[in-house]
Symmetry: C2
Subunit: 510 residues, 2 copies
């Protein structure tokens, strides 16, 4: 592992395209009518009251008891009263700012803002040159660089690839170090267990604090400054397990952002009907959101969603399905009903390679995310093979799709200038507009320009080697890595992070 | 060319999936607010009044004069008063039934019905086995068979591929013969010039009339029974040329369906701003719709749309762009404003092969069509290379994408049965739903099943030959051709069509 070289802050980084968060100015696509939203809401609350939720963590159960919640400590189970749940959920902010250590990359979470983030978690990595291989730290760093270079990614990493060449107890230290030093976009944190969560949040705090701060001061500095996301998966149905609850509590106690995400395989860990999956997920999210608000009222929390069908005829779990699209739209409506920011949709696929299937499946998922007004689009670029593989070419392909949504979502005012009636009149029937003043003033920036898509004639395409999209994506990610420049982190901060990481490695490897 | 063998009507055809027209039960995606729609409307009417439209056809100019329209016959130009235009356009039906000679395949045009149709017009054809080649009659027949076999296609052919091995004056006869005898879905007609339009409409009429009818009786039989679509392109800006007007008049006089479609390359034959392109297109469509209604009040007419940007930096005309998506949504809103059925969107791409680019570009176009409530989605399956090439593999790929929209658009009632609260309670936290009565009753049909997408594990995928989507599509179209059975047309009707075709060929080749 090479140590990143850093510019001093006086050197300004070369300007890429300006950092910019997409907004969807159009009304969200909705698949539920208001009655349906209410029916799901009430059925969820009844599940929380009558069926209840497992919380496999003693500290959580004791906190819930303090709150007056009916708890069975032996069964590690609680029944949540609807009035209490709704009171707690009502304390969560509808929108908040997620801070990066580089304030130029702070982003708003909520409303109609769309924040796309890269793939996270695959144990394998692949590219056209070297094929499929175990996840490793060198590839994590390459993917970090791609995330930094891609304007479409406004959230940074968090265990982009599982580095199997690093020992398990210290993986979170290595990945967080490079997530913070190679990228200046707000990171995601590993939150499986108290140790990983506490270390990760501390490193984020140190990145914000500058070189000289103590850990305690650094943590105090982000207490009211959300600076890291942590995906808290629910062990569906209706169970929060121990390590995830430790992560949830650590995030909440430090004022950081739990992204409460049930992982529902419809027909396996929920009933096989999509409305039931949405309803069960809603109950699970509300339970977690209430807990977070009890621990730290006003702490940001995100309504997460991950629902995919089970193909019971083959046993396969497909991704990028039409059912997923419906579920994203429905879940986003539920999140809006509670005024919670929403995470859902992404570039998911079961395809093995970045081919047509990968493209149509991921485009469906990114369309759903975009048109649902999904605020956090995690797993937005680079995912293949049901999430088992991170692909550099697929990353480029997904970024292209997101850039197309960007171009679509431009606000286009309708006024005398854009209607250009005088030019239509001047040019007249049968004429052309190629060289009008109206055209000349606009042609360079009028339309989306794609570096990935081929617009060559057949002859020129043959002459240039009959490359397919994956081959062009291969060339593009290498260019991006070659053009990479590190973000402007002060050397003292890099040293502080390195120091923390190395000290903690010694402790954890003892 | 082999002559199709036909079943007698007493033999019922083997049942494939039931013939079914998609509906979009969700609100359409809208990109214009009501003020913007009005601004475009008024600006268009002003263009019609002040700039006017070229009509390069003496009969049309004389008809317009009869209507009291201000005409300059020498300049072949007319200025259309807004009151007259709106009065005429108001006579067009908001919805109508398009009839097939097999009444089981009649389809509703308008409302939230989505009718997908295949590619039309490419001079080249390609598949993975034989590569790119000139369009020819054998390949036209193969594509006809695929259209008949694909449930996603509910409109039939119309010059699916340009058969360069057939002499130009008789191409319309050969293609219409196979469009009518190999497919029992309502056809599209070649309408370039009076001869082609009249022959095509006559053949459709004969297919409806049964074997013994005279041409005059057959034509009278469809006078109030829309049975064929004809795409009337406007030679933008603001010009209807001679052959297209002959086609328009023939369709209107016989009560058939002009699909009025400007072909706008934004920045070339319209101003470079998308609102201007939408406004100019609106003027062009209104001019044609008014003419159709004057010729035959109440005749069905479709508001057509085809807008794509020009990349002025490279000179390329890309397809499947984000600008296209915005324009489809905007144009659909204009069509709804006039209560006219809408044609727009499709599976367009500039890609040379059925790879990732082809998939993401076409998925964007099909998404736009579907979510805009586009009633006619022509060029919906099989298009490659900016429309120069029809690809059998791309046809299969687009059909897969349309089937995914079908699964997404299912109405999913929210009620006690679908919310399944009792099963969530019964299974409880940490349990599974794999074998509940609720799951067992539904698992076979709960979810979209894809024959094209791979859901294999990596190992199984490698073992089965590492096929990409295009290779799987290749296998699939061959299976479809192998399974093809002709529709139940009476032999006497086939003979009547053959007889008409051969007689007309003799006349036209003299």
């Amino acid at each position: 592992m090479t140590r990143p070289r850093h510019r001093t802050p006086t050197q300004s980084p070369p300007t890429a395209s300006p950092f910019r968060v997409l907004r969807n100015p159009f009304p969200p696509t909705e698949v539920l009518d208001p009655d349906a939203v209410h029916a799901i809401h009430h059925a969820s609350l009844r599940v929380l009251e009558e069926t209840g939720v497992d919380f496999w963590d003693a500290e959580t159960l004791s906190l819930l008891k303090t709150a007056g919640v009916k708890v069975d400590e032996k069964a590690r189970h609680a029944w949540l009263d609807r009035a209490w749940v709704m009171e707690m959920v009502g304390k969560a902010p509808a929108q908040f700012t997620l801070h990066s250590w580089n304030p130029a990359k702070n982003v708003p979470v909520g409303g109609n803002h769309l924040l796309y983030a890269p793939v996270g978690g695959p144990p394998f990595v692949t590219d056209l040159d070297r094929g499929r291989r175990d996840g490793n730290m060198a590839d994590v760093q390459t993917l970090n660089k791609l995330v930094q270079m891609a304007d479409a990614m406004v959230i940074g990493g968090g265990h982009l690839i599982e580095p199997l060449d690093v020992e398990v107890p210290i993986r979170h230290l290595e990945t967080m170090f490079y997530d913070l030093t190679l990228i200046d976009k707000a990171p995601q944190s590993t939150v499986l267990g108290q140790i990983a969560a506490q270390d990760s949040i501390t490193m984020v705090a140190l990145a914000h604090a500058g070189g000289a701060a103590t850990v305690a001061d650094a943590l105090a500095g982000i207490r009211h400054k959300p600076a890291v996301l942590g995906v808290i998966n629910v062990n569906s149905p209706l169970r929060y397990d121990g390590p995830m609850l430790e992560g949830l509590l650590a995030l909440a106690q430090h004022g950081q952002v739990p992204v409460l995400t049930p992982f529902i395989i419809v027909g396996a860990n929920s009933p096989i009907t999509l409305p039931a999956a949405i309803m069960q997920q809603n109950a699970e999210v509300l339970a977690g959101a209430a807990l977070v608000q009890f621990v730290n009222p006003g702490c940001p929390v995100v309504y997460g969603h991950f629902i995919t069908p089970l193909d019971l005829r083959s046993g396969a779990v497909p991704f990028g399905t039409p059912e997923e699209v419906w579920a994203v739209f429905a879940a986003a409506q539920m999140a809006r009903f509670y005024h919670l920011p929403f995470r859902g949709g992404g570039g998911l696929t079961t395809a093995q390679i970045p081919d047509a299937q990968a493209a149509y499946e991921s485009t469906f998922g990114l369309w759903a995310a975009t048109m649902a007004h999904s605020n956090l689009i995690l797993q937005g670029a680079g995912w293949l093979d049901g999430g088992l593989v991170a692909s550099f070419e697929k990353f480029v392909l997904d970024v292209e799709v997101i850039e197309r949504f960007d171009a679509f979502l431009q606000e286009r005012p309708i006024d005398a200038e854009t209607l250009a009636a005088e030019f239509i009149h001047q040019v007249g029937p049968g004429g052309h507009h190629l060289d009008t003043a109206h055209t000349m003033a606009r042609y360079r920036t009028a339309f989306h320009h794609s570096e990935l898509s081929s617009r060559l004639s057949h002859g020129a395409w043959v002459e240039q080697g009959e490359q397919d999209t994956a081959q062009r994506a291969n060339r593009k990610w290498k260019e991006m890595v070659a053009r990479y420049t590190p973000p402007p982190m002060e050397q003292a901060v890099v040293e502080a992070l390195l120091d923390y990481k190395e000290r903690r490695k010694e402790v954890l490897l003892k």
